[in-house]
């Protein structure tokens, strides 16, 4: 089977004659690249041979061109000596310059033409200079006429430089016996409608040659992991909730029994906003009492004065717990199962493991007869569904939970990895808000999870899109 170009080549070129690719391209009327590819294909089929010839080319260097014009330095010196027989070296130095004089003298000595004695040069023998003639021949492109040894000298003296040029030739060896048919490349509507496709022979393609890359439209791998997490919550019977990024400190801190002078509330960790908003007065009063002296919660409270103004100041929420606690305050009667996966903010400089904003996953269960054992059961089930078979629990600390726990999952190659935190909301949190029952709560940063799933080491990649990575990160990789 011959391609249309191969047929063209066979038809237009004479058997046995050598054509350069350039010549063949002109004769056949197709591009040089097409000639080259068709010739190679013909060679593999035995109809042609492709020859590669390395051609040498010689050119004068800048120095060579100068000597061609002015004469070689030794030739010039020889002419002076021929006139004067004997010359003072010092006088020559003035005329030639030290380095050029060196070159000239060197070559004349080598030819045995001069003697140097007591600072004077004397001519002792007549010599001839073939080099200049050789330079002329090279300049005219007739370097083939220059004797080899002279060419070598010129190359060594860097008066001439050598260049290699590759030229590719094609020679048709024979033409096929059968009539040269032109194959059809494209199956067209015309061919189909007219039925003429029946008379045609279609070009067969080389199936091994890759085509141009195209990239699929797809969701972000991180979003796909978030979708998997949502699926797990939904399967476990949780209601999805969502809240605004901008929240009063009241819901972000105070309602969660975070003391107003708590280090986590300081400016260096939180993005504060220069605005204060109203907060529910009755709840604020109960929260105030709880902070100051424990109110009816059975707690001692933090002591000191609780400042409502601080609670009214807006922040970019530092955790999704600001949303879950507010939701529970609105739905205080058990049972409640709710979850939230969304953006949170920390006032942190960007590095591979710290970002000023990231996504957090959080779940809460409010019920009357649930306790710590149930929280551990929930965590184990959740992580199991996430694909972590081994889960263990260590004591943890969060200001708004008691008991608190840090779940760890076992990851091959990494060992035990801490994955989030959990606990039961303190009475100081639930009672002022009128929440009836106990609240099991847990959360984790999804970035950490994504790093484990996708084998990433740099969190920044998730929020600073690299199209190369996104295009090449297989969709199936995020399947749990």
């Amino acid at each position: 089977m011959l391609s249309p170009f191969e047929v063209k080549l066979l038809k237009s070129l004479e058997v046995g004659k050598r054509y350069s690719v350039n010549e063949a391209s002109k004769i056949v009327g197709i591009s040089k690249d097409a000639v080259f590819r068709a010739s190679q294909s013909l060679q593999s089929k035995g109809y042609a041979e492709v020859l590669e010839e390395v051609r040498k080319e010689y050119r004068l260097t800048e120095e060579g061109r100068e000597y061609l014009e002015k004469g070689l330095p030794e030739e010039r010196l020889f002419r002076i000596l021929k006139e004067k027989r004997e010359v003072d070296l010092k006088d020559l130095e003035e005329e030639f310059g030290k380095s050029l004089l060196g070159i000239a003298l060197g070559w004349l000595k080598r030819k045995g033409a001069v003697e140097v004695e007591k600072g004077k040069i004397r001519l002792v023998k007549d010599v001839d200079f073939k080099e200049r003639e050789a330079l002329r021949l090279v300049a005219e492109g007739r370097w083939e006429e220059v004797p080899n040894e002279i060419l070598k000298v010129l190359l060594k003296r860097k008066l001439v430089e050598e260049e290699e040029e590759k030229e590719i030739y094609v020679r048709i060896l024979k033409k096929p016996e059968v009539e040269l048919k032109e194959y059809v490349t494209d199956l067209t509507p015309e061919l189909i409608i007219s039925g003429k496709w029946r008379e045609k022979e279609f070009l067969k393609y080389d199936v091994k040659i890759p085509s141009k890359e195209i990239f699929v439209g797809k969701t972000h791998p991180y979003e796909r992991i978030i979708r998997e997490c949502r699926k797990i919550f939904l399967e476990m019977g949780f209601t999805e909730i969502k809240g605004h990024y901008v929240q009063p400190s009241f819901w972000n801190f105070d309602a969660l029994f975070q003391p107003q002078d708590h280090p986590a509330r300081e400016m260096q960790d939180t993005f504060y906003l220069d605005k204060h908003v109203e907060i529910p007065e009755d709840l604020a009063e109960k929260v105030r009492r709880t902070h100051e002296n424990g109110w009816i919660t059975g707690s001692t409270g933090w002591g000191g004065k609780w400042d409502v103004k601080k609670a009214k100041q807006l922040v970019l929420r530092t955790h999704t717990t600001a949303i879950t606690i507010h939701y529970l305050a609105k739905h205080p009667k058990p049972p409640v199962k709710a979850f939230c996966i969304d953006r949170v903010y920390r006032r942190e400089a960007i590095d591979p493991t710290h970002l000023p904003e990231f996504d957090q996953l959080e779940g809460v269960v409010l019920d009357e007869n649930v306790g710590f054992k149930d929280l551990l059961g929930l965590l184990r089930e959740f992580f199991l569904k996430m694909g972590f078979e081994d889960v263990r629990f260590r004591p943890g600390y969060f200001p708004y939970t008691e008991p608190s726990v840090e779940p760890e999952v076992y990851v091959e190659g990494l060992g035990w990895v801490e994955l989030g935190g959990a606990g039961i909301f303190r009475k100081e949190v639930t009672e002022p808000l009128g929440i009836k029952g106990r609240v099991l709560a847990w959360g984790l940063g999804i970035g950490r999870l994504a790093m484990l799933r996708l084998g990433m080491k740099d969190l920044r990649k998730l929020y600073q899109p690299d199209l190369g990575w996104l295009r090449n990160c297989p969709v199936i990789k995020t399947l749990l």
Binding site: G237, T297, L316, G371, P403, Y463, Q464, R471
Partner: protein, 548 residues
């Protein structure tokens, strides 16, 4: 959270077990082991357990946890003949003081250093960076009792620690490193707290600096400790230090603090008694440990326990600063019992899973965009006025009326929360110029306008021939799939090229814009290929659900 360095030789000696046992059990007591070295470990303890910020405190807790020495540990306090008179003048400045004397200590360089480390960790946690509570440690032999705690004015002078000349309070706050560091606590005050001895010499200027005169050296055998502040945290910190030094072999003597209206004797190292009902224990834990298990668990955590019919009576050690509520004791039952021994059980609470409309809508939009061959990207919502408005040739809106500015931005790139996604996408294109064309990207997510989240979709196409017609096709398809009737009207959005920009109008309201990005905008983002794009606000045309 404080990271405490514990030296193996001391820790092993004080606990009485080898390091492998310690390494295995310590995390189950509640901490993160940061680093394990040949001669020491660095351990991060939680901020609710300042009593674990010293090797003595850790050893005490571990001996209980490892069943070497369980139960409440009693600390002896000998009545001392030491007095502090509290002057009226200081009550409005820094009203509370407590003190103790500890005798017979072996001071070495290392002991002094570890004492200073504990002091700093306590300052940071209980003391809230010295605001609520500050500690001074002195060589007892250099002090002439009784002491007076009073307020002085800024001309009062003495030789502060680490200096060799007399300085006034004002100079110390301005020139002494500690003065500069902590001057903020006393800002706006014209009277300053000062502890002076019987000779009238200053021994401490809390919460800033001690006097050079009472410096603790290797020759020091007896210490005087003062703690000043505002509330019971003063006593908590003193108790932690006194019990730690007692564990180091010191003999604690009490100090009488004479206020204008009362007299207190500090430190009070007697336990606090608390009752915890068994039903609360069973309920919170979700299982019923036996009376013995409750008792042993709490004794492991160094509480004193007496089990009664319906409740338990607990002696809370004086160094425990975190016990605010009976639940705090129940957590210690769980830790003493061992988190690894509790059998997890999935709760029976029923619930029907349901998604939030906001995310349902996002999923629909994603399906449309992916079907159109667009690649989803995620970007930060933090950005700057410069990129959001200036680069887009759009007029900067007034802060708060439209966008939310941060009070204390960390970088110039992150000064506000985004109100538009399109500029973020142009940034993405700008960072990905080296990847093959065409590039088609989208993001569907939140922006914050007037302090509320809104749901937006934005998309961009770039290649050498990207144009209006191409993006209009996309907008047409999106609007068709969203089943929205719409009209295009000539837009005036300066981010796009004149005559090649249109507003997306639904029910007479503008909900979006599309067109060819203005070349001046492209220049700002250093883009060399044309870009066509659109942005669509979905919040008002669909039910996005309730946001909290």
């Amino acid at each position: 959270m404080p990271v405490v360095t514990l030296h193996w030789d001391e820790l092993e000696r004080l606990v009485g077990v080898d390091r492998n046992t310690i390494l295995e059990k310590l995390p189950m007591l509640g901490c993160d082991i940061e680093r394990v070295e040949e001669d020491h470990i660095d351990v991060e303890f939680f901020p609710n357990r300042p009593d674990l910020y010293s090797v003595e405190g850790v050893a005490r807790a571990l001996r209980g946890f490892l069943d070497i020495e369980r139960g409440y540990k009693h600390y002896e306090v000998k009545k001392g003949d030491w007095k502090i008179f509290v002057d009226d003048s200081v009550l409005e400045v820094r009203p509370r003081i407590a003190g103790c004397v500890v005798r017979g200590l072996e001071m070495s360089d290392e002991v002094i250093r570890s004492l200073m480390e504990v002091q700093e960790d306590l300052h940071w946690t209980i003391g809230r960076n010295r605001r609520k509570m500050a500690i001074g440690v002195h060589d007892l032999s250099k002090i002439e009792f009784p002491l007076t705690y009073k307020a002085v004015d800024s001309t009062f002078s003495f030789v502060p620690l680490d200096f060799d000349r007399v300085m006034t309070v004002e100079e110390i706050l301005r020139e002494h490193p500690k003065g500069r560091q902590f001057a903020f606590i006393l800002e706006g005050k014209d009277r300053y707290p000062m502890i002076v001895d019987a000779k009238g010499d200053a021994i401490s200027f809390p919460p800033i600096i001690n006097s050079e005169k009472t410096r603790v050296t290797e020759e020091t055998r007896d210490l005087f400790i003062d703690v000043t502040g505002f509330d019971e945290n003063v006593d908590k910190a003193l108790n932690i230090l006194a019990t730690m030094l007692a564990d180091r072999g010191g003999r604690v003597e009490s100090v009488e603090v004479v206020y204008p209206d009362r007299t207190e004797v500090t430190p009070n190292l007697s336990p606090k008694k608390m009752r915890v009902s068994k039903s609360e224990i069973y309920g919170l834990l979700g299982f019923k440990p036996s009376d013995d298990e409750i008792k042993i668990s709490l004794e492991r955590m160094r509480f004193g326990v007496e089990v009664k019919e319906d409740y338990i009576e607990v002696l809370v050690p004086p160094y425990r600063a975190d016990i605010m509520h009976e639940w705090d004791i129940i957590e210690d039952i769980a830790i003493g019992y061992g988190y690894d021994r509790i059998k997890p059980e999935y709760p029976k609470t029923v619930g029907i899973g349901s998604t939030h409309p906001w995310n349902d809508l996002r999923d629909v939009v994603k399906e449309i965009m992916v079907g159109l061959g667009f690649l989803e990207v995620i970007t930060f919502t933090l950005t700057s006025e410069k990129v959001q408005y200036d680069y887009m040739r759009r007029r900067r809106p007034e802060p708060w009326k439209h966008y939310v500015p941060l009070m204390h931005p960390l970088t110039e790139e992150h000064t506000i929360v985004r109100t538009d996604i399109l500029p973020k996408l142009l940034e993405v294109l700008s960072q990905n110029k080296h990847h093959p064309m065409p590039q088609r990207i989208f993001e569907v997510g939140d922006v914050v306008v007037e302090m509320k989240n809104r749901l937006r979709l934005a998309a961009c196409i770039t290649h050498s021939k990207a144009n209006f017609a191409e993006i209009r096709s996309v907008v047409q398809a999106v609007m068709r799939e969203l089943d929205l009737e719409w009209e295009a009207e000539e837009s005036e959005d300066p981010a796009f090229m004149e005559g090649r920009r249109a507003d997306i109008i639904v029910n007479g309201r503008k909900i979006g814009v599309f067109g060819e990005i203005h070349p001046e905008v492209l220049e700002k983002f250093e883009l060399v290929n044309p870009v066509a794009g659109f942005e669509l606000d979905l919040t008002d045309v669909f039910d996005c659900g309730e946001l909290i």
